[in-house]
Structure formats: structure tokens, C-alpha cells
Amino acid sequence: MRVEKTLTIVNKLGLHARAATQLVKLAQTFDAEVTLVQGNKQASANSVLGLMMLESSQGKEVTVISEGHDANEALKAIEQLIVEKRFNEKE
């Protein structure tokens, strides 16, 4: 199964080191292969360095692509972390 969704980075600090680490930790709990695409750059959700190289600041749109038997669940969890929980940050 392959699902994808474009999300907007809403937290003030963007996809910085701690946010990227949270995303990798979350993605690791699923079997699905998750990739983030921003413009012409893409990164595996397994790589903190890769995610930091996206330079995703507040307001940027990233497409999350999730592939695997639990692709839906992985995508939902990641959407929740990025959009609803804003990486557990206040602003």
C-alpha cells in the first residue's frame, strides 16, 4: 500500500534537530517506508541528517509518502506529530 499527503510545517522552529529526531523515532515504530519530499529534495524518515537537510521551515509544504502494510497508520501518526502536536512545541 502506498499513501501520500502534503502537510504544512506549522511549528515556529521548523524541522530542526529535535523535531527531526522525534519524527525518526515515530517512523521507526512502523514497518512502512516513509519518505518526505520538499521541492526537489527528499529524505527518508529514518535519517535525522537527511531530514535536517530538507531545511523545512515554518510554512513549508512537505509531501509525506508512506509505503508498506501499515502505510496508513504511519502517515496518520506523522501527520499528527507535524500538524496537531507541532512536534510537541508551544509555538
Binding site: K12, L13, Q22, V24, S47, V48, L49, M52, M53
Partner: protein
């Protein structure tokens, strides 16, 4: 921006003897304080410890990026330390760490910091750079490994 804009040779130390996470962070703090004598090592250390409390900066594959915000700092400053033996760092992949790229940013300048981070990540994500860092003999070679 390039690595050499934030990292100077005197903040680049190869094969330090660090046996614990705390000891490595203390060495980093001393190195940066020697470079910027107006900053007390204890102030630098507490900024690093404060960040580690929020979650380890061990990002996997033996690499950590300890960092902190420091009041009174005028511009971003970095230190690159490698240890002669690997150190337990509570890293994301549970592997011990031997490459420490420390970053200090001025307090209140959290935004605009993503670009610096992306530049550093690009370097550390390069397998050849990491190979050169691990095989460097001495501080000069280590500095060349990260800046070339």
C-alpha cells in the same frame, strides 16, 4: 555559509579521551571556552546539558550534534571532537558515538538556524567526509576532513 565560517582549527580536536557522555560535553565546553574566553566552561556545559535533557542529540551512525543556546554569544560557533573510543550517548539507534559536532547559537536567534543545521547535516551525511573524519590523524587532518 560554510563549515569554516563557524568552525576554527582550535575548536577541532581529534581522538580525545572521553569515557562518558558527561566527560565529552565537558571537553567540548572547555574547548569552546578556550576559543571564546568570555564564556565560562560551566555556562557552555549547562547549555549542552539542558538540551540533552530534552532528548539525546545522538542522531545515529556514531554521530552526535550536541548544541545549546548561549546568552551573549555574537555568532554561531561550532566545535568538532572525535573520541579515541566510542562513548554511550543514548543515541537514537542505541549505537555508541565517536564523532561530536557541537553547535552554539546566540540566545534568541533560534530562527534562521535551520540553514546552518542543513549545511552541517549535508557534511555529516556524506560517507566520504565521515570516512575522512574517522581516519584523521591529528587536529589538522580532522579540520581538513570536515572543511574540504
Amino acid at each position: 555559509m560554510e563549515i569554516k565560517d563557524i568552525l576554527s582549527p582550535d575548536c577541532t580536536h581529534c581522538a580525545v579521551q572521553g569515557t562518558s557522555k558527561k566527560r565529552i560535553l565537558e571537553i567540548i565546553s572547555q574547548v569552546v571556552s578556550d576559543h571564546l574566553p568570555s564564556l565560562e566552561p560551566s555556562l557552555i556545559l549547562s547549555s549542552l546539558l539542558c538540551r540533552e535533557k530534552m532528548g539525546s542529540t545522538g542522531i545515529g551512525n556514531g554521530i552526535a550534534i550536541p548544541h545549546g543556546r548561549i546568552e551573549g554569544l555574537e555568532e554561531v560557533v561550532a566545535a568538532l571532537i572525535t573520541s579515541d573510543t566510542t562513548v554511550e550517548f543514548d543515541a537514537i539507534d542505541n549505537k555508541p558515538v565517536d564523532i561530536f559536532f557541537a553547535i552554539f547559537v546566540p540566545e534568541g536567534q533560534a530562527e534562521g538556524h535551520l540553514q546552518t543545521l542543513a549545511m552541517i547535516a549535508g557534511k555529516l551525511n556524506d560517507k566520504n567526509t565521515i570516512k575522512r573524519i574517522r581516519s584523521a590523524r591529528g587536529n589538522v587532518q580532522l579540520f581538513e576532513a570536515i572543511t574540504q
